[in-house]
Symmetry: C2
Subunit: 393 residues, 2 copies
């Protein structure tokens, strides 16, 4: 059965679309995806290469060089996980934590909660260090947890996009190293928008997303391991739980160990896009990018403050600049403001997520979208939305 | 640490590319990826939508309708796994096999071997049903294994791309149902090129790849579950090992259960591409596609036979038409033929993989590339390569 010419069942009719694809054009100023740079989208129309062709390896090398720069590392252990940020999250966990080992999870929003779920599935002993959404962890809290549990891994989220909190990483590299712990950091919505110095800060593993500040489509998860993390991977007693995310194998496709072995078929167009997105980062330079994101954050808040709106995160130095959380004033219909922004201006601003649903709006300032005209449009949308509810003259 | 204005370490210089991306144009006639249809690549330049926007849900719905057609099912349990074919493979295994349950793996090439590896990582009891590469399993062999082991899952590969074998699925649906077994089929390189009637044949789970006959870039894995497979998933005693691939959660993002929950950020551009690729399948129609692939297979073999080349797969009805394996004649340098094809004509033909390395060439006839002019170019490349080794006048 299954060869042409043989008797086959009656065919079910095609019920899908018959038209050429068309989608509306929107300005994505929520927590991501953000709009991609046109040069990045255009790269995806280039002809496909084979996943083991030398010109494709050149693209992979260029991606790794770009990632070394955005992570600020000289470690050669960088790659793109073939999946979205969640695949990057799962890759770090299934590779760095063996069943029965302890992971301390800084959980002050939905990302920590997801790490707890994933780590438990892989048989880890999970210490859930919970904290109210909207607050960062202090060094003392983390120091206490690490010295008490001496975990294999400490997880923190640099940019908590559900709450808009920026986690300070100062001193944590040394703390972790002194306690035999690997420091794992989620930078999905922060990488490229705020400083990250993987080597200098002693971070051991990072994952991120392609579709935020890096301004590429979703589908690739930048990943970094320090030498210490790689040593841990190599010294595992058991295979990582996932074949697809086994960094011994994926790393060997990316040339980590000197050769190139086939593991899976890299998503060719997506990697073209990321290569181009990283070239754009190189053209602008990280200090200029960080400064641009900071300026746009200030422009946004100058306008919001004028409208009487307030930040959800109390401490100024804990406010994330790439995903801004704005308190919904008592009695305001937050969803109507979001809907009005989309219906009237084709601009996305978002409500809360997880612990912040109904409490905040979220405005992303990320990558290609971090431009003054886009901030002004967001402010116009807020003004119009609040006016329609009689909250502004 | 990590906020602009604070004292930061000295920045490591950017060492990545400074140019705009450029890649050579190649005709990919190996086992995949194949070239995408230009309309499919162009879809990837459309502006990104948010992963929870209604117009994006419409794209997802259209993909599901297209997948129902290519799988020939009225089951609503279809989706794209956000990853490559390997992610599809792993998704079926981590969801359908609980730790301690048995999976019988038809292993006649590298895909069966990978399933064995994956299933073992997830704690399955793996029965490795090995068979020489180049031969399909007989119904009797499979019947014996299923009745003996009564496994939770029987795995088979419809198109074994490392050996070029087409597995007949006749009668297996009933056999599996009668034994409380789910029938899981890999169609990565066969879907759309040869008949598949998921409902009529009683198949319970299928995964595939985007970058083969469906003529989209790699990065999406079409997946199908029967009602029986879904019931099994719902009745699990343990959570699937992978969060990222948990089909309870991924399915809820795809609307399987009536609502839409955020699970991960769908790779937007990739799904645009798949929507467009499936619309093209609908325009041509499956019977026409199957017939086209069959004609191209015959055109290829008419030319190869004239050169004295022979199929690796002995039995004619076990020869896969989408990935053709060609015996390397005694004394011929297979790699020189491959290299000459690329260097002279920019056309990819491939050597063997796993058990067939050094024994075969592999020629893909897939999707947009399955056109007479491409077959002629492959034949010209073989002729030229063999002439240069003095094997043809």
């Amino acid at each position: 059965m299954g060869r042409p010419g043989e008797t086959l069942p009656e065919i079910l009719p095609y019920a899908g679309p018959h038209t050429v694809i068309d989608v509306p054009s929107r300005l994505l100023m929520g927590p991501g995806p953000a709009n991609s740079h046109p040069r990045v989208l255009a790269a995806q129309t280039l002809p496909l290469l084979g996943h083991m062709h030398p010109p494709f390896f050149k693209i992979m090398n260029e991606i790794q060089e770009g990632l070394q720069y955005v992570f600020q590392t000289s470690s050669k252990y960088t790659l793109l996980v073939s999946g979205t940020g969640h695949a990057g999250m799962e890759a770090t966990i299934t590779n760095l934590v063996e069943p029965g080992e302890t992971i301390v999870v800084g959980n002050n929003g939905i990302w920590g909660a997801r790490v707890c779920d994933m780590a438990a599935r892989y048989g880890a002993n999970v210490v859930n260090l919970e904290k109210e959404a909207g607050k960062a962890f202090s060094f003392d809290e983390l120091s206490k947890a690490v010295t008490q549990h001496k975990p294999a891994v400490l997880f923190l989220c640099q940019g908590e996009s559900s709450s808009g909190v920026h986690q300070n990483l100062s001193g944590l590299g040394k703390l972790c190293k002194d306690n035999g712990t690997l420091l794992l950091v989620d930078t999905v919505c922060s990488l490229g928008g705020v400083p990250m110095f993987a080597d200098d800060w002693g971070v051991d593993a990072i994952y991120s997303g392609s579709q935020k500040v890096l301004a590429a489509p979703p589908g690739g998860a930048p990943l970094f391991l320090s030498q210490r993390a790689l040593d841990k991977l190599k010294a595992r007693k058991t295979k990582p739980g996932s074949y697809n995310l086994d960094l011994n194998l994926v790393g060997d496709y990316w040339g980590w160990f000197g050769g190139r072995s086939y593991h899976h078929t890299g998503p060719v167009s997506m990697w073209y896009a990321m290569r181009e997105a990283l070239a754009l980062v190189g053209e602008e330079g990280l200090p200029a990018m960080w400064a641009r994101h900071q300026r746009m954050h200030e422009q946004l808040w100058a306008g919001l403050t004028e409208m009487g709106l307030e930040p959800f995160v109390e401490k100024p130095d804990e406010r994330l600049i790439t995903v801004n959380t704005i308190k919904v004033p008592e009695g305001v219909d937050w969803a109507a403001v979001v809907k009005n922004a989309m219906d009237t201006y084709s601009v996305e601003i978002a409500g809360g997520l997880g612990p912040t649903v109904g409490k905040v709006w979220r405005v992303g300032i990320m990558g290609y979208n971090a431009q003054p005209q886009n901030i002004e449009l967001v402010l116009a949308a807020f003004r119009d939305g609040l006016r329609k509810q009689g909250r502004l003259p």
